[in-house]
Symmetry: C2
Subunit: 233 residues, 2 copies
């Protein structure tokens, strides 16, 4: 009964994460130079352990390399071209992650090089990591257009102009601020706080917070949608 299994060849299984962050102006990806490949920037990655699920492994690796936990993490794609890793055939399952850049204190940065790069100004990357980043950007754009996912990249409290800047960075375009704020506020997903941002502009913009309850409902509703209205075919 096990024969069918035994005669099969196993493969190395890696996980690589595309970690997005937003500094208020530019959408960035976190890259490292380390270990084997000291000359090339690469994604944060590691190996699957024998008793570990894929997402758990991705989360563990992210934690080990950045100290971040409980961040948004979503499976992107499995990359398995023979020859993608020229040394040993490896399958890599890529995850993309959205982190609040302020939470990322440069902790482990002593042991190897780590840097945030603008998604519009990336260095050459190891193996097929460039493809992974490209796909992750597409997915982020695709997803952010329909899910209120952008909040994951901002601090707990943020202003509407900050949120707009983020979306402008994601789509590399500009939005009309009147239409933008109307659209967002019409979702009733944000709670206006009685507190203004200081220091950035003279007038100061009101802070908002995600209404986590409604955010959940929204997310769930989306998963079960019947798109009579949204059917584009």
């Amino acid at each position: 009964m096990l024969d069918q299994y035994k005669q099969q060849q196993p493969f190395l299984l890696a996980l690589d994460s595309i970690i997005f962050g937003f500094d208020g102006e530019v959408l960035k990806v976190l890259l490292v130079k380390r270990g084997l490949e000291e000359k090339t920037w690469s994604l944060m990655g590691g190996w699957l352990q024998p008793h570990e699920g894929l997402e758990a492994a991705a989360a563990r690796i992210l934690f080990e390399l950045t100290g971040l936990s409980s961040v948004y993490l979503e499976q992107l794609y499995a990359f398995g071209d023979p020859g993608r890793d020229p040394i040993v055939r490896t399958i890599s399952v890529a995850y993309f992650s959205l982190v609040k850049i302020a939470d990322y204190a440069t902790k482990i940065t002593e042991s190897f090089q780590v840097r945030w790069f603008s998604i519009y100004d990336l260095p050459p990357l190891l193996f097929d990591h460039g493809d992974m980043v490209d796909l992750a950007i597409k997915r982020l754009r695709y997803k952010a257009a329909q899910h209120p996912i952008g909040f994951e990249l901002l601090p707990e409290k943020f202003t509407i102009p900050q949120l707009q800047k983020l979306y402008e960075a994601i789509y590399n375009t500009e939005f009309d601020k009147r239409n933008f704020s109307r659209k967002i506020l019409s979702m009733h997903l944000l709670i206006k706080l009685n507190e203004k941002q200081k220091g950035f502009s003279k007038r100061g913009a009101y802070y908002y917070q995600v209404d986590h309850l409604k955010y959940q409902q929204f997310t769930n509703a989306f998963l079960n949608f019947v798109p009579t209205a949204e059917l584009v075919l």
Copy 2:
């Protein structure tokens, strides 16, 4: 230099395909009973070979089991929970596939059991194959709402009422035929043929064909979209 690789444990890597077909009334999934698991229905699956890409392997397995080639095939998700296969730890990359059901002549059906099941009436499935099917249905709905992907499930020539039936099957709902046909025709993605369907209705409906050139453009446009308009946040 190879040490880092050598001390890593490799894993078995399987591919499983959720194959969708449409018989004119009901959206169906192709399942098999075979080999090891003669008692349970399961997805069509097989093992990754040493020098084969993931999609190539999925396509090969699909061809070996059904005789179908050049069908729509898209990676769905990598499933890797420890214990998902209770016999040996296996990572499975699931693909979903859209086939024109008429092309599928019951070729190899002698060697093992194969059957189309309505997506609304599935038997218990092997391992986590039920989760795979659920996710595939979600993905199909999600995708079909925005990409003109449904044509992959219909014959070369089809009528608007057929197309509508398909979308109603996918979303398990009903659409207004006036609005439906307006919406579709407004995309200018279909070419009206000078030929009517016979036998099904008395009047007969006009056949249409996909304008493959425009279909390509549409697909490409979608990949590079900047959703000023479609920003739902």
